[in-house]
Amino acid sequence: MADEYQPPAIMKLAGRQAWYYLLPAIFVLLIYVVYPSVRTLYLSLRTDDLTAWATAACVEGQPCWGILQNYQKAFTEATVVFRNNAMWIALMVPFVTAAGLGIAVLVDRVSYESLAKAVIFLPMAISFVGASVIWGLVYHWRSEPPQIGLLNAILNGVGVQPVPWTTGGAITATLAMIVVGIWMWTGFSMTILSAALKGVPQELIESARVAGATEFQIFWQVTVPIILPTIVVVLTTMTINVLKIFDIVFVLGKGQPGTQVIATRMYIEQFNQNNTGLSSALAILLILAVLPIGWVNVRRFREQEKIR
């Protein structure tokens, strides 16, 4: 514990000065993170013109959640964004984690490991907007040939009807966008998991091998249990990132209401429709979804501090 720890002498020096060092950061954080968060919570409980509590927006004879009326609206009018966000998480998080682990295991066995990893990691350097342009070209569709999008050209080549990937249906478009997300983020999980794999003690694997275990058994019964904490970190990090996904859907899902997610709908409600109440309620729902993971982070941090 921190109490038993004997602080270095320099720490007793001019303790009050600490505030000068902290002041710029605290000032910016209060204005830009703490105050607006509280304010958003307040806005989510008010009508759109901020003149009254949201209860005033209730309509006779329709379900009314009182002061939580904006949340009622969010759950009835914006149901599709929750479905889409759930789809993003359900497909992208496990896939990115599994693909990252799989690639990390494979490239571990070849001499050009760093080159292969660089190729997979590269998409992380570019913007989601850039990735949307790149994949917009892959998904490009025309009602008649020639197809200049790679995917539809391949379909055309094997005699299958080309598919309007991003403009056809909401489900197809969402799946197409999830693929872009996977393309961008697999490098992230691969790098983290690859580092964890390198940390697995070689003696353990050798002794398992000597004991006659197959490579498959070694992977599932030795490697995976050891790197499980890292896998959990990747899973939680990816869940947070996917919950907040904005750019891909904003650029690639243009004009498709069925593909909207929480973050894009929130933007549209506030900046195109002026529905401050509903928009703020969506923001609050977003942080509520992230909160458990934040709590896990704080707990993990405190445990680390105990070990230090």
């Binding site: 270095p8 320099i10 303790g15 600490a18 060092y21 710029p24 950061a25 605290i26 910016v28 954080l29 204005i31 830009y32 993170v33 607006p36 968060s37 304010r39 958003t40 806005l43 690639i103 494979l106 066995r109 070849v110 660089a118 190729v119 997979i120 590269l122 998409p123 350097a125 913007s127 989601f128 850039g130 342009v133 790149i134 070209l137 008649e144 020639p146 200049i148 790679l150 055309n156 992230f188 790098t191 990090t237 990132n241 919950l243 907040k244 904005f246 904003f250 650029v251 243009k254 929130m266 506030q270 900046f271 923001a283 977003l286 942080i287 992230v290 934040g294 982070n297 704080v298 941090f301």
Partner: protein
Amino acid sequence: MNGLRKFLSKVPLHLVIIGLCLIWIVPTLGTFVTSLRPRQRVLQSGWWTVILPKQDEGEAAYTEYCAECHGSGGQAVDGVDLTSPDLLGEFSRSVQLQILLQDELPDGRPHVETMPSSQELVDTLEYLRQEAGVVEGEELPRLTIQNYVDTLVGYVGRGHWVDECRGVDDPAPGCSGTGWFSRDGMARAFVNSLIVSIPATILPLLFAAFAGYAFSWFDFPGRQWMFVVLVGLQIVPLQMTLIPIFRIYASLGLTGSFLGVWLFHTGFGLPYAIYLTRNFMSALPRDLFESAYLDGASHWTAFWRLAIPLSVPALASLGIFQFLWVWNDLLVALVFLGSGHPVLTWQINNLVGRFTGQHLLAAAAFVSMVLPMIVFFSMQRFFVRGLMAGAVKG
């Protein structure tokens, strides 16, 4: 013998890895090739055709389906000159040819025995046009750098900026508002992105270094719980604060100003930046700070002469991460900067909405990717570490 067997046993593994790498690289490669192709070529054919001998394909399709009756020159049937520009003008699209071929000939026979595929129809038409000399295709270069010029100056017309606008007495209507400092151009957007990103990287780095030092080497009440709060603040999504800040900015007249964006990015970079600098600085060798104290050094000296120089690796990773995060951001630029000071991501999103064609979009995307790519290849080690450590942010 043993080495060969070992090599052979690894062949499937190599194939899988190389296949995966290809899947990962091909979309980007395709965009790069597209960015270098003339507009007409991008419309006519996929980017992969740059490596294919295109004309031969059309010739093969023509020979298979048409040459038997129409002759190799296309003029064998009386009154039907397949190389006549007038006739070809009636078939601006391959469907029109397809419809014609489905009809019977005047004597009741089918026009063709087996219907060519859609791609073959396209190839055939293009071949005939080339034979007749009616396509500009022949004069078009295979690859060109002009898309980059057009996108940098903000020209979205059908020609090229250098031909249509620069130094021309009577410029085309599409030339108005184009130029190296044009608001619609990627050149200006590039500069704007730099103006946004550099201070938005330095400010949080500086504030975080101070705060990280305070959390590491100062003893003050609330040190522990304040830092725990900070760990918690890391997960606050950006969306959570957009609306109130937008309202404050609107009342202060900060909307659309660089200052507003710098401060916003600073606010959002800080929780994670402090977390990282604190963890790094508090792990620095304790003896160094002890002896500095014994030598009578103040905190100010210890900070600038010990903590900062020793933290350069951490600050570099953090700086790269923050810089790229700001550089690649769309949402904050959309809300707080907008069209007044368009940055790269904003400008590309704007181009997508204007349906200017894939050749310009591809070039624009590559303009925006140049700097991240350079950073990636030159500082890969710091880069990966920075992105890894900071991936939870925002």
